[in-house]
């Protein structure tokens, strides 16, 4: 049983270098899919094991913590690992036809190898209980995602990847400085050990500085307003598959790290006294309004979705800044729900890009009538993004509102309502252009003659899209499963 947890990391680690050497796009794709499916299976099993509040502990290399690296898995770890591997499967399904279309043939094995390494890094962050090990996995996932983003079709992808590289490295450096300070103060890198002995060194100035450094670094990686500037370009210029995978997982995993630092590493009273919740609450509110407004301004579908991510991250920040059971539950739930919604929407955008070679909304007028099923799924996911009852978006917004009312934060209630109204605006923009505008001859660019790509959506892509869309509805109606995982994680963090 314990050995299974490390397999989540060992399998991609061993398969990725093999993948890089196989010169066949089909085989490398199959290997990646198998890795993703195995990860999904294992993380489902682990979540099932720990959902009752127990732990799975794995000591790497047989060294006892706090000296060795320890993986201590509770329901939050398993929940995040489940999100990452599930989205990995979805994007891998989508990749089958999209990757040969967007990536040079001889780069495909390297693409899949980098994809697996990115998966490995994100899973590693989700599982480890050692902050330096966490930094290492953060770097593995970041470095591979820079490479993945730079493989985008458009040359702008290079500048997007480069600015992400610079900002991401600054973020990671800040995080490392924070870890170093904390290590200097505490003499330990093990999360549980630091938390246990916190009282012995909490008066040191260094501890406070470490917290600020770590929060700054992770906030950059999580694209929390105002540190989000790398996100829209990176996600809209990346290859579709990477856009789907990263938009749904990378920022979520960073938020998870932030939750761990705030709720597990440091005592809650420590940073509540520092006015951090108030600061983050206001940043979250601004992020919701600003992200939604900017999304509404966009004329290109992927950029619109990327800005909407900034807003949705705002909701998550609001959720945990309220520091109560409901708010934290909503934040953790939204990690899952938003991953689902945003990956579905990015899959939709990817299908449109595959068929028409453009995601400029002005060029897509009337396209919804040509691809009604794709369009229907995009609308479903769009409705979830707004938070219509019966979809996953509603569930989190409801709990978030309840949490805000419980704390008497009426400004937050107003923000959430306003953000939802703006979300209606930008989702409507997609719907209007795709369906209600008079049909215009679609401008098709760069399609070689005799190419049948435009004629129909490949089955793998539409099945990925519909799996996503149906899951949005399924988890919207059947909230027990995700809610139970989220609330047990939240309760564990608040130590109730």
């Amino acid at each position: 049983m314990e050995q299974l947890t490390i397999l989540l990391i060992v399998i991609p680690l061993m398969v990725a270098p093999i993948t890089a050497l196989i010169p066949s796009e089909k085989v490398t794709w199959l290997l990646t899919l198998i890795v993703c499916l195995i990860s999904l299976g294992i993380s489902c099993y682990i979540l099932y094991e720990v959902i009752d509040g127990s732990h799975v502990i794995y000591e790497l290399g047989g060294w006892r913590p706090p000296w060795g690296i320890e993986y201590k898995i509770d329901s939050l770890n398993a929940f995040v690992a489940l999100i990452v591997s599930a989205i990995g499967c979805l994007s891998c399904l989508f990749a089958y036809r999209s990757v040969p279309d967007e990536i040079e043939e001889k780069m495909i094995p390297l693409f899949y190898a980098a994809f697996q390494l990115c998966l490995l890094g994100l899973l590693g962050i989700a599982l480890t209980g050692d902050i330096f090990n966490l930094f290492v996995f953060l770097e593995i996932s970041s470095l591979s995602s820079y490479a993945l983003i730079s493989m985008g079709k458009n040359r702008k992808a290079l500048t997007a990847a480069f600015s992400y590289l610079i900002l991401g490295t600054i973020g990671a450096t800040f995080f490392l400085i924070g870890v170093g300070f904390l290590f200097a103060a505490s003499g330990s890198l093990n999360t549980a050990d630091i938390a246990n002995r916190f009282d012995t060194f909490k008066d040191m100035q260094l501890v406070e500085t470490a917290l600020i450094f770590m929060i700054m670094g992770i906030a950059l990686k999580a694209a929390i307003f105002p540190l989000h500037s790398w996100l829209p370009n990176a996600y809209s210029q990346a290859p579709s598959t990477v856009g789907i995978f990263l938009s749904a997982t990378a920022t979520k995993v960073s938020i998870y790290v932030l939750l761990r630092i705030l709720f597990d590493l440091y005592p809650i009273d420590y940073w509540v006294d520092m006015l951090l919740p108030q600061i983050m609450l206001s940043l979250g509110c601004v992020a919701v309004i600003y992200g939604s407004y900017r999304a509404w301004q966009q004329t290109e579908m992927k950029r619109l979705l990327a800005f909407s991510s900034v807003a949705q991250i705002g909701y998550i920040v609001i959720g945990f800044s309220l520091v109560n059971q409901l708010g934290l539950t909503a934040a953790i739930l939204h990690l899952f729900n938003h991953a689902l919604i945003k990956s579905t929407l990015f899959i939709g955008a990817g299908i449109i890009l595959y068929r028409t070679n453009t995601t400029e909304l002005g060029n897509l007028r009337g396209l919804g009538k040509d691809m009604p099923w794709t369009f229907a799924a995009i609308t479903l996911a769009g409705l979830s993004l707004i938070g219509v009852p019966g979809t996953v978006g509603f569930v989190t917004k409801w709990y978030l509102l309840e949490a805000a009312v419980e704390k008497g934060m009426w400004i937050v209630v107003i923000t959430i309502v306003l953000g939802s109204a703006l979300a209606i605006g930008y989702v409507w923009k997609i719907v209007e252009n795709l369906y209600f505008r008079s049909k215009r001859k679609v401008r098709i660019q760069d399609v070689p003659s005799g190419d049948s790509a435009i004629a129909k959506t490949p089955r793998t892509m539409s099945s990925a899209l519909w799996i996503g869309a149906l899951l949005c509805i399924f988890f919207g109606l059947n909230t027990e499963l995700s809610f139970e995982a989220a609330s047990s994680a939240a309760a564990a963090m608040l130590k109730q």
Binding site: E2, Q3, I6, V10, L13, M14, A16, P17, I18, A20, L21, Y58, E59, L60, G61, G62
Partner: protein, 140 residues
């Protein structure tokens, strides 16, 4: 620089010594400062020196790019393979103690193989990086 006699002779003399030193740093890494990373970089510097003196084509003949790619992956596989081997032998991932007859012998063997993996990957990637950038300059 291919016509400079002094450079050519010195490079020929120096390259084996650099490689020998790299191997020393590699295999003495568990007793003294050193290890796979440093050894890999030192090893690659010998090939870098060779290709600076004799040109990129000669260096590519010496060590073709596909071998470097295989090397880069192989090192990671060796590293992971040790971990997997220790899992198969009943320990945790990367628990070298189960590799040998006694824990001390196992730890010894484990770290040497791990460092070898690191060394191979670092050397290959360093040379690959150099080749990748050097190729961007148009040949004269």
């Amino acid at each position: 620089m291919a016509n400079d006699l002094i450079l050519r002779v010195i490079t020929k003399w120096l390259s084996p010594i650099i490689i020998l030193f790299a191997l020393y740093v590699q295999f003495h890494g568990d007793y003294s400062p050193g290890g796979g990373f440093q050894a890999g970089v030192i090893f690659s510097s010998a090939i870098l020196l060779y290709s600076l003196t004799y040109g990129l084509d000669a260096a590519l003949q010496l060590i073709p790019e596909y071998i470097l790619r295989i090397g880069a992956s192989l090192g990671v596989l060796i590293y992971g393979g040790v971990g997997v081997a220790s899992m198969i032998l009943g320990g945790n991932f990367l628990n070298y103690s189960v590799l040998g007859s006694t824990p001390v012998a196992g730890q010894h063997l484990g770290i040497i193989i791990i460092e070898l993996g690191v060394g191979i990957t670092v050397a290959s990637v360093m040379v690959l990086l150099f080749f990748t950038f050097a190729r961007r300059v148009a040949p004269e």
